[in-house]
């Protein structure tokens, strides 16, 4: 067998984040020699999922300032015997993104047969946190209606407002045809909220419902993007079964997809080396010469890696909380025949939270609640993922959101928070691109729902690696490795 140094690799992929891993999947049936390395000793990169022990190592690394996108990470544990289980009972996701049923990611996982190894769970209700004006009263979580049946059932909206909402939902489903385009094109770059007010006479409350459905991090999404996202949500509803519009992979979200993709890459012959990074690289030569941190020097035709663009100063703050309650009320499926959801989304609209100093929140806070069905925590506990745009006071606001949420869902007792992980993740507006023999993936977005534009970069990288050998019809379209089903059995 050839050693690493003797092989002329067709591509070295650095990092096992989602994009790189999907590329490995895409190359898994080609006869290319793929070396896939990652300086971390875990798979998933910025989309990894961690046990509690891995969280702590990661937090230490972040504090050294060498984790690229991530900053200001810290962990807080409740004192004493709290019911926190052993570290490996948890799998906290860095990228707890929901995947809309319509997303091309799912159809690609199907056509590449990788879907067989992923277990998908349903994402259930979207709710809005409504602070109660009376401090002695519980705040409420109000479900957002997104189907005709939801609108029918809800008691929170007037008959006239329901009609307005229905007209909008119908409009969005067909928003790219005439005469709808005439209505929204003039507002394309204006905030969606303005469009909703002007053209649909929606009051603030209805506007909040719609904006929440877009999961817009700053709440200021424009009309063009907003309509696209809502249409994706609405047309995803019911696609894989009644009552849900999005899916979530079990065991840690996107990390699971990255792992399954790498596994497929390995089965296809790629060589995997964790805990290995690039020490030096000379890309002026052809083939590119790389010295790995393992000491090996290798030659490769192409290199794919995370690009090294500077990040913006924008980003998100996240708070991950483990809570000692199954929070059942969030996971009941109201639709007949619907699967029990494992994820529920709660939005705290701008203004619904305030700091200790009394300042109202300027941006929305989003919460993704995960039940133990996700495999991310043991039974009778839940994991809460809070996200908001990074602004002064964001960390405090996330903590307020946590307290307000627990108070709102409290039954006889307020559920306890057993463990908290906080960190910041920076954004980068650069795009993925090729330069010579090197393809650089732009850092992942921190959006709450999977963005299909990520897949375009993977496709570009695949084309770059295969050059003129790429056959479009074969992109992520494979046959089952096991061979065709044998239907002659019954003749025996």
């Amino acid at each position: 067998m050839e050693s690493l140094a003797d092989t002329l690799w067709d591509v070295v992929i650095c990092g096992t984040g989602l994009q790189q891993s999907l590329l490995a999947l895409a190359l898994s049936r080609s006869d290319k020699k793929v070396l896939h390395i990652d300086p971390n000793d875990f798979y998933g990169g910025a989309e990894a999922a961690f046990s509690l022990q891995e969280v702590e190592s990661w937090v230490e690394k972040v504090e050294t300032g060498k984790e690229g996108l991530f900053r200001a990470a810290s962990v807080e544990k409740l004192e004493g015997d709290t019911g926190l289980s052993f570290p490996r009972a948890y799998s906290l996701a860095l990228a707890p993104q929901l995947i809309h049923a319509r997303s091309a990611l799912l159809s690609q996982l199907v056509s590449s047969r990788a879907y067989r190894q992923v277990e998908f769970l349903a994402v259930g209700s979207f709710s809005i946190f409504k602070p109660s004006p009376d401090p002695s009263q519980h705040s409420a979580l109000v479900r957002i209606p997104s189907t005709r049946e939801d609108v029918f059932s809800t008691t929170a909206i007037s008959a006239k407002a329901k009609r307005g909402l229905m007209k909008f939902l119908k409009f969005v489903l067909d928003y790219e045809s005439n005469p709808q385009t005439d209505t929204w094109h003039p507002h394309a770059d204006a905030p969606l909220t303005e469009f909703l007010l002007k053209e649909f006479k929606m009051d603030k409350e209805l506007q909040t419902y719609i904006i929440t459905l877009t999961l817009s991090l700053d709440g200021k999404i424009n009309t063009r993007d907003g309509l696209a996202v809502i249409r994706r949500h609405l047309s995803s509803m019911g696609m894989y079964g009644p009552g849900f519009a999005a899916l979530y992979p079990k065991w840690g979200g996107l990390s699971e997809i990255a792992q399954v993709s790498c596994r497929a890459g390995a089965v296809g012959g790629a060589v995997y080396m964790l805990g290995t990074g690039v020490k030096t690289m000379n890309d002026q030569e052809n083939p590119v010469v790389i010295e790995l941190t393992s000491g090996d020097t290798i030659k490769t035709r192409k290199v794919v890696r995370a690009s090294e663009n500077a990040t913006d100063n924008t980003g998100i703050n996240r708070l991950v909380a483990i809570v000692g309650s199954p929070l059942k009320s969030l996971f009941d499926s109201t639709v007949e025949g619907a699967p029990t959801p494992a994820v529920a989304i709660v939005a705290f609209p701008a203004g619904s939270l305030s700091t200790a100093a009394g300042e109202a929140s300027q941006s929305p806070v989003y919460l993704s609640v995960h039940s133990s069905d996700t495999g991310e925590c043991p039974a009778n506990q839940s994991v809460l993922y809070f996200t908001t745009v990074s602004e002064p006071g964001s960390q405090e606001l996330l903590r307020r959101a946590l307290d307000s949420f627990l108070a709102a869902v409290a039954g006889d007792t307020v559920p306890q928070c057993l463990y908290k992980l906080e960190y910041q993740q920076r954004q980068c507006s650069a795009r993925s691109q090729a330069s010579g023999s090197i393809f650089g993936f732009a850092p992942p977005t921190s959006s709450l729902a999977f963005d299909d534009s990520t897949l375009q970069s993977v496709h570009d990288a695949w084309k770059m690696v295969l050059d003129d050998e790429s056959v479009e019809e074969d992109y992520l379209t494979f046959a089952d490795r096991e061979g065709a089903m044998d239907d002659d059995e019954i003749y025996d």
């Binding site: 005709r148 029918f152 008959a159 006239k160 009644p242 009552g243 639709v335 007949e336 025949g337 019954i490």
Partner: protein, 432 residues
């Protein structure tokens, strides 16, 4: 009957490019199938309904569930020996006369075997002993009472029969998954379910039928508007309510079921239809007096109006609204509130018209709204035995104009209305 080896309902097979090897493989398969089939025919010709025959039907039916004769052969093998306690008179379902102690059997024609598609609900043979009368040979009309089995034998036999019933139900499942519309499989399944009533004690048979109700729910969950599945459900419910299975009414839970189905999908003719059928019995069983009935009617009207508010283009909703309105305005048979006076009816109808007019505020181009307003307004006039008042006349003219614009295919109908009710604008002051 031509041996088709599986009807294709006129759908052409998609032509595939087949290699010589594949063709050869297919020819072998065809030969194997033909061999199985001729083997079965030989056994049947020799009246051999043994276990071997049963196994042969298993193989054949997996290959071709549409071959209904083979289903019948399977039935015969069960009756002829595999069921330990036979229902009397082979497949004859008419009840034994109640003088079962002397073990008389009714004659039945062998033809009833193959006409097993008619759904004559089975009834227990002898209510007094709880056993199914006597065992009888297929072709004789015996009047001799054979030895009665002992209680232990009975229990053993029941257990065995339960096993067979369960395994037969299980056998149909993969076949149904592959050919969900094949009548013969459903027919066989129902026959097995009927056997459970004939052969097993009431509580066990009831459980089996309750599981069947669960299956019907699952089917409806997969396809809420499957008309056949709703019919199947009604049949299963009627069996569960029959006296053979304890005679408990399921009307409340079925009503609640339509509620859930509607909440899952408003646009469901079958659910609304089922609901309408359940109302008379529901109110009777609740012992509803006049107040309860009025409240019920008000709640139903409110609910359907809420539904119309979000789905005015949906015909199934208007259809249910029409049912409720007809029921109170011109009831035939079982009115929901039988004690309504003429004034009450007028008030209800007037109110509905007012409420529906509100929808026009936001839904200007939905034809069904105008149609409903037209029908109800004319209906109101008829109820009060008068001609439309001037304001109503103007409304009607306006709505007809809209209908002509939105539904030009039915121009003739709108023009007829105009003419019959003097609603054309062109001729001032009167009849057209």
């Amino acid at each position: 009957m031509a041996d088709q080896g599986g009807s294709q309902h006129g759908i052409a097979r998609t032509s595939r490019v087949r290699t010589e090897a594949q063709k050869q493989q297919d020819l072998e398969r065809i030969q194997k199938y033909r061999d199985l089939e001729s083997h079965l025919r030989k056994l049947v010709a020799a009246s051999d309904y043994s276990r071997d025959t049963f196994d042969l039907t298993t193989k054949l039916l997996k290959l071709n569930p549409e071959y209904y004769t083979v289903w019948n052969v399977r039935r015969r093998t069960l009756i002829s020996g595999l069921f330990s306690r036979r229902s009397d008179g082979s497949s004859c379902w008419r009840a034994c006369s109640s003088s079962s102690r002397c073990g008389t059997t009714t004659t039945c024609s062998a033809a009833s075997l193959s006409s097993s598609l008619t759904r004559t609900p089975p009834s227990r043979a002898s209510p007094t002993t709880g056993k199914s009368g006597t065992t009888a040979d297929l072709d004789t009309t015996a009047t001799v009472a054979p030895q009665q089995p002992t209680p232990q034998d009975d229990e053993e036999a029941q257990k065995k029969d339960l096993e067979i019933i369960k395994s037969e139900l299980f056998f149909t499942i993969p076949l149904l998954l592959e050919s969900p519309k094949c009548y013969w499989i459903w027919s066989y399944r129902l026959w097995i379910l009927d056997q459970s009533i004939l052969l097993l004690p009431v509580p066990i048979a009831k459980k089996i039928w309750q599981e069947e109700l669960g299956l019907a729910s699952k089917m409806l969950a997969k396809d809420r508007r499957n008309f056949h599945a709703w019919g199947y459900r009604r049949y299963v419910v009627s069996q569960l309510e029959s006296k053979e299975l304890g005679g408990e009414s399921l009307v409340e839970s079925e009503f609640a079921y339509t509620d859930r189905m509607i909440r899952a999908d408003l646009s469901n003719f079958s659910a609304w239809h089922s609901r309408s059928k359940l109302i008379p019995r529901l109110l009777d069983e609740r012992g509803a007096g006049e107040k309860e009935r009025r409240d019920f009617l008000d709640a139903e009207l409110n609910q359907i109006r809420e539904a119309l508010n979000v789905g005015p283009e949906d015909q199934s909703l208007w259809s249910y609204h029409q049912f409720l309105v007809d029921n109170l305005v011109s009831p035939v048979g079982r009115p929901t509130v039988p004690t309504l006076t003429l004034e009450d009816r007028v008030e209800y109808l007037t109110n509905e018209i007012t409420e529906i007019k509100d929808l026009l505020e936001d839904y200007e181009d939905v034809k069904l709204i105008y149609e409903a307003l037209l029908e109800y307004t004319l209906g109101l006039c008829q109820l009060e035995e008068r001609k439309p008042e001037e304001e109503e006349r103007q409304d009607l003219i306006c709505w007809l104009k809209k209908l002509k614009e939105l539904d030009p295919m039915r121009m003739g109908r709108w023009v007829d209305f105009e003419r019959d009710y003097g609603l054309t604008e062109l001729l001032p002051g009167g009849s057209g």
